[in-house]
């Protein structure tokens, strides 16, 4: 074998890079997120649980577009209760804790939605009301 001095270290770096998740995680078990169920005890969402798990981001995106672009501010009715279409107006009425609901999965899967560039969590909204 020729040029051992450069090829062997190069190969070692390559193998370490490819297998880096093994070393970086250190074989510790996964900690799948457990999003908090609505503290108010609501059982029914606007859509079935399975649909929401896969598609909530598209639903929210559709809602945003229909509200902001088409002015379709229709009410959403779930189990007799009506909500105004929107993340803060509807979703967060039940799922009131962003940190314990939204963030658990988003942090685990490193999803960084830009909802919160504009929206406020109920907690933040309350504190804003205090200051004004």
């Amino acid at each position: 074998m020729y040029n051992k001095g450069t090829i062997i270290p190069g190969l070692v770096i390559f193998v370490l890079l490819v297998t880096s998740p093994i070393w970086l995680n250190g074989l510790k078990a996964a900690t799948p997120p457990k999003p908090e169920l609505p503290p108010g005890g609501e059982k029914k969402c606007v859509m079935p649980k399975e649909y929401m798990r896969d598609n909530h981001m598209k639903l929210l995106d559709d809602w945003r577009d229909s509200v902001l672009r088409d002015e379709e501010r229709v009410l959403v009715t779930v189990e007799g209760k009506t909500y105004r279409k929107g993340l803060q107006m509807a979703c967060m009425q039940c799922h009131s804790n962003k940190e314990k609901f939204c963030d658990t999965c988003h942090t685990y899967a490193d999803v960084n939605p830009y909802c919160w560039d504009c929206h406020l969590t109920p907690k933040e909204a309350a504190s804003k009301e205090d200051t004004h």
């Binding site: 190069g10 190969l11 193998v15 510790k28 996964a30 799948p32 598209k58 999965c105």
Partner: protein, 341 residues
């Protein structure tokens, strides 16, 4: 029909994964067994190929040069095109690996009436290769979020840059579009450029179609066919794989298994194909040697150490009588040589 075959092969692979993963119990094969096999083939095959190259002797000093070599003091050396020092070779290799410098010199030749041939600079290959390779790199890095817990900040930042246009939810990635664009150019080049089409083989078309299908299934999974695509289940599976405790938990949609299977095929195919240019670019003697054969002797590793150097003086000593007999001029005459002895 060469290019049609690559499509057929990939369609067959998609059918295998799409139908196979829907058979109860087969999720373990497609989600756990095949990924492990593929990554072992990838790493093992990669190391094997590199070691194979490392064992191959380079009989001659064969760097490609296209600039002024070291000469007299007042003649300026082209240090990148004709490197003589290790540092210059490293600079040339760096530009080659990170910026594909040799593709920058790509030319297009055309035959005109006359007949007359013309050459023209053609930077498209360089541009689209750069787009394709860097998009692919970013996409691979982005996927590391499924394998790491917690996800390093660098990866989140990369993802943020990639989705900076904030189109739709889940946000569209720029690299997804760029990768497809690059692939379409690289494939189109092989179809439309007669010179390249003539030398293109199945093993040129197949990887392009395979990578295109991987990108396409990924895009379909992320933006369109979201049924049973819960990212938490996918991360659980991916994370389980790298911590050697894989679990097939909740149901994951067929499009995910197709995507994963195609990636497995790519990984397994990689070391035994032209895609090994990833490692080969470092091993190419025409690139990684210094053009210093005048100041430093390049010893051919094939040389038999038993065969000693035979100078002309020694040769003449051995054959002087025969040479004189045959009338071949000699440097030392027979009598002079005898006097010395």
């Amino acid at each position: 029909m060469k290019y049609a075959f690559s499509f057929l092969a990939v369609i067959a692979l998609i059918l295998i994964a799409g139908l196979g993963s829907q058979i109860p119990g087969m999720q373990y094969l497609f989600g756990v067994v095949l990924p492990y096999l593929a990554i072992m083939l990838f790493v093992g095959g990669f190391v094997y190929r590199i070691m194979d190259w490392a064992k191959s002797p380079v009989p001659f000093s064969i760097p490609t040069t296209c600039g002024q070599g070291v000469s007299l003091d007042f003649i300026k050396q082209d240090k990148l095109e004709c490197p003589t020092k290790t540092s210059e070779v490293m600079a040339r290799m760096f530009l080659e690996i990170f910026f594909f410098r040799s593709l920058f010199r790509n030319t297009k030749s055309e035959l005109h009436d006359g007949p007359k041939i013309t050459y023209e600079s053609s930077k498209w290959l360089w541009l689209f290769s750069l787009i394709f390779h860097y998009s692919f790199l970013l996409i691979v890095l982005r996927h590391m979020r499924f394998f790491l817990e917690p996800v390093p900040f660098v990866l989140s930042a990369l993802e943020g840059i990639d989705s900076m246009l904030q189109i739709g939810q889940p946000a569209m990635y720029l690299t997804d579009a760029f990768l497809l664009l690059g692939l379409m150019f690289l494939y189109g080049r092989r179809l439309l450029n007669r010179h390249v089409k003539y030398i293109s083989l199945n093993n040129d078309y197949f990887p392009l179609v395979l990578i295109f299908s991987i990108a396409l299934t990924g895009i379909l999974m992320r933006y369109f066919l979201r049924t049973d695509i819960d990212i938490i289940n996918i991360k659980n599976l991916a994370y389980g794989l790298v911590t050697f405790s894989p679990v097939i938990g909740a149901k994951i949609g067929a499009i995910f298994y197709i995507h994963l299977f195609l990636v497995c095929v790519l990984l397994a195919y990689f070391p035994f194909s032209k895609l090994m240019h990833m490692g080969g670019v470092f091993m190419s003697p025409t690139r990684n040697m210094a053009n210093n054969s005048r100041s430093k002797r390049h010893i051919n590793p094939w040389n038999d150490p038993e065969i000693k150097p035979h100078s002309y003086a020694g040769y003449e000593d051995e054959f002087r009588e025969f040479m004189v007999d045959a009338g071949i001029p000699v440097e030392k005459e027979l009598t002079a040589a005898k006097d010395e002895a």
